[in-house]
Structures are given as C-alpha cells and as structure tokens.
C-alpha cells in the first residue's frame, strides 16, 4: 500500500468527464511522472491529489485514510507540498517571507523559522540577497526554486509539481530535477506532472493519462 492511493477515481467538469476509473499507488522514495497530452487531465489529477478538488467518484487515500475525511487545509498545509505551474507565490512578500509564512500556516514549531527558510532557499540555490528580494524581482527559475523551498518548508511526505520545468532553460531544468531526485532519495514521494519526455526519463515511474 502506497502513501497515496487512487481508487477508481473519476472526475468531471459538469457533464464533461475528465478522469475515469483511475487507480494507482504512489510510494515514498520514488519519483513519478504523470504525463499525457494536453487536456488529458494531468493538472486535474494534481488538483485531486493536493485536495484542491474532490473526485466525483472513487476515493483518494493518504496513508490509508480517505482524504475527504482529513481536514483539507491541514492536509494541504502539512502532508503535501504543491509546486504550481505558475508558482502561486505572494508577490508582495519576499522569497524568505513566502517560505516563513508557509511554515507559520503549517504550524511548524521551529524557533528560528527565518534561519530555516534561509537554509532551505540556499539549498535550492538562492543566496541571502535573493532570498530577501520581493518575488517580482526574481526570475522564473528563481521563483520556481522559491516555490520548491516553500513546498519543503514543513517537511511533507509528498511533493507535487505541475510542469516544474516548463518555463526553464536547460541548465536550470537540470538543477531543479536534481533537487527532486535528492528529495525522492531522501524518502519523499515526488509526483511530477509534465509532458516533457526529458523529465519523464528522469523519473522512476511514468503514469500516462489518455484523453477520454
């Protein structure tokens, strides 16, 4: 039994079905790639896994518990780290503040959250000066790193990333993928949503979604 299990999950927008009878096990220590053509429902699946949307049928189990029965805010803030395609960072805040706020929301009992946030940002390749810059003064790659640091700030078991390398150059893409590889090696379950064959090649398992 994996950390995250899909049991006959269906989802539709109104009368338009997007996902049908999806069953899958995601395990810790592995890096997955959910792939498929545009409109296949990759991002929708990510939304279901992150608890932002609820399946119209079937169930998603986190550690054998139906996530419907877990407080969705608690689930999102503690057990799963999401890296959105457009990063979804607070633009009025600095990189450091974004990470600290994430720890605050998760209720991390760290005495020096700022230092931990700095260390995290440093580990994803942002120096102190960059860490103290407002988000809008950072490049796309740097914002991507901030989003990864934010997702890691409360040490979740699962990392979800939607098109993590879509807007990045080759070098940065490699850096980011190395970070994900390190995380899976550290025992995290990393689920990447991407249609890039290069990304899929670097993952342990590939789950391909087909259009209904």
């Amino acid at each position: 039994m994996g950390i995250l299990t899909l049991n006959n999950v269906c989802f539709s927008y109104g009368k338009n079905p997007v996902l049908k009878d999806i069953s899958y096990d995601f395990e810790v220590g592995k890096m997955y790639c959910v792939t498929g053509k545009s409109g296949a429902g990759k991002t929708t699946l990510l939304s279901l896994l992150s608890g932002l949307a609820q399946p119209t049928d079937g169930s998603i189990l986190y550690d054998e518990k139906d996530i419907k029965k877990i407080d969705k805010y608690n689930f999102r803030s503690k057990y799963i780290g999401v890296i959105f395609q457009s990063y979804n960072l607070l633009t009025k805040f600095t990189a450091l503040e974004n990470v600290v706020l994430s720890m605050d929301i998760a209720g991390v009992k760290e005495i020096n959250k700022k230092q931990k946030a700095k260390d995290l940002l440093l580990s994803v390749g942002l120096n102190e000066d960059e860490a103290n810059r407002p988000i809008l003064q950072l490049s796309g790659g740097q914002q991507q790193r901030v989003a990864i640091a934010r997702a890691l700030s409360y040490n979740p078991d699962i990392i979800l990333a939607d098109e993590p390398t879509g807007n990045l150059d080759r070098e940065t893409e490699n850096d980011i993928m190395n970070i994900f590889r390190q995380l899976s090696d550290q025992g995290k379950c990393v689920i990447l949503v991407s249609h890039s064959p290069a990304v899929a090649e670097l993952c342990d398992e590939i789950y391909e979604l087909s259009k209904i």
Binding site: L52, V82, K92, F93, L101
Partner: protein, 538 residues
C-alpha cells in the same frame, strides 16, 4: 499570531490602498468625533449647570388644566367646543389660594432644602412719603386709566404663582408695593447681588417690629435718611396709617430703565418697600381688626411661597411628595429656574440634535464608502486569497487577516481623528454655538419687532417686576412670552467637549465600521475557491 503579523505586513506593503482606506476612515472618525463631542458638550454643560444650580419651585393653581378638564371631547352642533363658562367661574370662585399653613405643610417634605415666603401688599403714601414718579398730575390721571383699568381690570399675578390671576380681592391700587420677607434667603435680589444696602442695615430676620428698607431713589425723592419714620396708608382708607422705621437704604442694579408711563407707580422698583413678613402680617392683622364691617376694605396681601432644593432630583421628588401630602390636582408645582435653564439650553440642544443627524449621515455614507472600497480591495486580492487557502490557510484565518487589516487602519484613523477632534471640538462647538445663539437671538428679535415691542418686554406686553416669578404661560402672554424669555441667558460657550465617554463611543464606532466593512471581505473570502481563482488567472 502570524495572522496579525501578516496583516501588518500587508498594510505596510500596500501603502496606497491602506492610505486610501485610512483617509476615508479618518474623515469619518474626525467628523464622528466632532459630532459626538458636540453632543457630549451639550450633556456636560447641562450636567454641570444642573449640579451647580439650586432649584426653587412654587406651587401654583393650574388654570389650564381646569380649562382642559371642562372642555368637552367633541364639538357641539354649532361647531363650537361648548366650553362650560359657568362651571369654570364656579370652580374659580370656589378655589382659594393656598394658605401659609398649607405651604408650610408641604415644606415638611424631606426633599425641601429651604422654604421661605413673601407677602405683598399695596399702600398709599402720606405727607412725608410720596412715590417716585416722573409724571405731572395730569399724566398721573391718564396712568390711572391705563393701569390697571387700561388692561381690562388687570391685576398683577399672584406672587404664589396663581396662574389664573386669582387675586382674592387683592388690588394693585396703591402707590407703594410693600413686600414682607420671611427670611433673609427670601430676599433674592440681595442674595443674587442685584441689590445691596448702601446705608444702615436690613431689618432683623423674622422681626415683628415695623422696620423697613427703602430704595435710594425713594430716599432721595423724599429726603429720607436711615432712622427716619415713614407713613403708609391703606389705599382704601386714608385714615388708616402705619408708621415704619427706615433702618436701611438699598440700591438695585435691576430695572433702572423702568418705563413709568405704562405702569402704576407701585410697579416702579424705586417704590418698593421691604420689611419682615411678620411685621407686614402684623399690619394686615391690625387692618383686619380696624375694618370689620362689610363696606370697609382691610389691607390684603398676596402670598408667595418658594421651596428650595439641593438638586433637580429633589425637585422632581418633591412633586410626588406634595401629592402624597394631599395637594389637589388643580395645583401644579413649577420651577422658573428649570424653565429658564431649559430655555438657556435651546441653542445647545438644537446644535446637539443637528450634530446627531450629522453623525448619522456621516456614519452611513462613510460605511457605504468603506464597504465599496473593501469590495474592490477583496476582488483585487482574490489571487492572494487563493494562494493562502491553497497553502492550507483556513478561510476563517484569511478572513481574520482581512478584518485585522481594516481594524488596524480604522483604529489608527480613530486615534488620529480623536486627536484632531480633541483639539478642534471646543472651538468648533463654540463657533457653531455662537452662530446658533445669534440665529436664535435674531429670530426672537425679529419676532419682537413683528409684535412692535421693545427688547425688554415680555410677551404679555407687561414688564414683570423683578421680584416676581415669571408667568409661565398660564395667564396672559402664554407662548409668546415663553418664546421671548431667556434670550440673553443662552449657554454660549462650552469648556470641554471630549471626554472618556466620547473616546469610548469613538472606539465603538471604529469597531462598528470595521465590522461593516470587513463583513464584505469575510463574505467574499468564504465564497472564493482557490482552484477557480487559479483557473481564471491562467
């Protein structure tokens, strides 16, 4: 805790938005502070004056009430109200003024702080005492026709406040008004510093000796000095004379502008003779002993009793006490002090009422503006709400953050507004009050001009003697008199307007505005779904 921290960060990061909301809140707060301060100033002035004023009251016959009771509820066939004049005359004829014993009975009420009375009688002069007058003898004849006959047999209102003019045969005929005081405290002119002894001394309190004091003008007019005797006579019987010893001469600052031509000489303050009530009673008793047959006219006096109270509450309690002590419903308890006090508050009350409406309008408009601003604010921050909820921040906490932001901005605005209000409320209140008083005075002056009466006249067209309580509408004059009265005694200045009550009210207003404005934010936050927000943004 992080919610508050986050709220403060959001305020500082979005300066333009915060300043805009802050300015609106500041305008509301300052206006509200001024409005509340004006209302508080009115209340303070009222309380301060009430606390410092000693209230006096009189018991008087309530003729209006009797007339209302006799008025049938519906008009008769002729379209007239069918007022029963015969019954009215019967009631009025059967009603006698309260006796001294009755007045004294009511004075035993616990609430009465002091009790005193005056008796007023009218006398003629003699060879050694002539009334001060500026008329020739021919003029004097005319004056006799005008007063009292010129007013249809008008008699001065009873000093006990007999509203119906129940004078019990007391006539204002006579050149002199002799007033007997039961105690020093009854001598209001001297107590209020409008009169003072210039030579000799005041007669002993409660003495039965026929000692008196006279005005400086009367003394000069008749070449009288302290120690001289003067003779007064019964106006209906020249042979009935009484010798009074002048023990003092006084001067008065009141009514130096008395117009002789319209009134009898006994209404001239210069022709007033003051003595002890007991001494005057001795004369009255003696006169009754002399004039025993039906055709003779003994000297009669009208009685005026005044009850003094430590505070206003005691006065109101007294009204209940006298009823339980048996005072008939046809009598009423009234206080000229309170009436005058209420008149003095007219501009302030008007201003207070206007300030109340102003406050209401400002609050409504302000609240609407804040709500609209917040709607824009929340819509503009939709993405932020989506990010926070996607990160796992509960919607309740997101809403709380928005409430905190508005609360902080509003409270800062309230503090600054209260500061501005504290500095400006007194001058603004006084400036508005001055305008209000001026406008009030001008309208009264205009009214007086419309009636063709000079400024020192009251509505009855008669000058009320200085030692007489104001007729409060029961007799002649009525409402016009009330309109004219007290025009110069308005409260025209306030010392302080802001106090803790205003500060507390300001805080409540701040909280209220926060609740109204943030209610919209809460509603929007609770409605938003992060997935939809991100989908729309993409």
């Amino acid at each position: 805790m992080y919610v508050i921290k986050n709220a403060l960060k959001c305020i500082s990061r979005a300066k333009g938005r915060s300043v805009l909301i802050g300015i609106i809140a500041l305008v509301i707060a300052t206006s509200a502070c001024l409005g509340l301060s004006i209302r508080q100033a009115a209340e303070n002035a009222k309380q301060t004056t009430l606390e410092s004023m000693s209230v006096t009251a009189q018991i008087s016959f309530d003729r209006q009430s009797v007339m209302q009771n006799l008025q049938p509820p519906q008009e008769n066939e002729d379209g007239k109200n069918g007022f029963d004049r015969d019954k009215f005359s019967e009631i009025m004829g059967g009603t006698s003024a309260l006796s001294l014993e009755e007045y004294e009975k009511y004075a035993k009420a616990d609430t009465v702080y002091d009790f005193y009375y005056t008796q007023t009688a009218y006398f003629n002069g003699s060879d050694n005492l002539e009334a001060v007058t500026d008329e020739t003898e021919e003029d004097d004849d005319n004056t006799q026709n005008q007063m009292p006959g010129g007013f249809g047999g008008f008699q001065m209102p009873d000093r006990g406040g007999m509203k119906g003019g129940m004078m019990s045969g007391l006539s204002a005929d006579g050149d002199f008004t002799v007033i007997g005081y039961s105690s020093d405290s009854a001598m209001s002119d001297f107590v209020n510093n409008t009169s003072s002894i210039t030579s000799g001394t005041v007669f002993k309190e409660g003495t039965e000796t026929l000692d008196c004091i006279i005005s400086e003008e009367l003394a000069t007019f008749n070449s009288i000095s302290v120690g001289d005797s003067i003779t007064v006579t019964n106006s209906a019987n020249d042979d009935e004379t009484y010798n009074l010893l002048v023990v003092g001469i006084y001067t008065s600052t009141e009514n130096n502008d008395f117009t002789m031509s319209m009134f009898g000489s006994n209404q001239d303050p210069a022709n007033k003779i003051y003595m002890s009530a007991n001494a005057l009673q001795k004369i009255i008793d003696a006169s009754e002993d002399i004039n025993t047959d039906d055709e003779s006219s003994p000297i009669k006096a009208s009685l005026s009793a005044t009850y003094s109270f430590a505070d206003v509450d005691s006065y109101y309690q007294f009204e209940e006490d006298v009823r339980s002590l048996g005072l008939d419903d046809s009598y009423t308890v009234s206080s000229a002090d309170l009436t005058s006090f209420e008149n003095s508050l007219t501009p302030l009350n008007t201003l207070s009422s206007m300030a109340g409406w102003f406050l209401l309008v400002i609050l409504i408009i302000g609240a609407v503006i804040l709500v609209v601003l917040n709607i824009f604010n929340v819509r503009e921050r939709k993405y932020e709400i989506g990010v926070l909820t996607a990160m796992g921040m509960k919607k309740g906490k997101v809403a709380l953050q928005f409430v905190c932001e508005i609360l902080v901005i509003t409270m800062i605005a309230v503090i600054i507004g209260a500061g501005i209000g504290a500095v400006s409320s007194v001058p603004v209140t006084n400036a508005l009050l001055e305008n209000q008083t001026q406008s009030q005075s001008e309208s009264i002056q205009q009214l007086e001009n419309n009636f063709g009466r000079p400024g020192n006249m009251n509505g009855s067209g008669l000058q009320t003697p200085p030692d007489m309580p104001q007729n409060d509408g029961g007799g002649f004059g009525g409402k016009i008199e009330q309109m004219f009265s007290g025009a110069s005694d308005y409260i025209t200045e306030v010392d302080s307007a802001m106090n803790l009550t205003v500060v507390f009210q300001m805080l409540l207003i701040g909280l209220g505005l926060t609740l109204v404005a943030s209610g919209v934010s809460v509603m929007f936050v609770m409605r938003y779904d992060p997935l939809k927000i991100f989908a729309n943004r993409d």
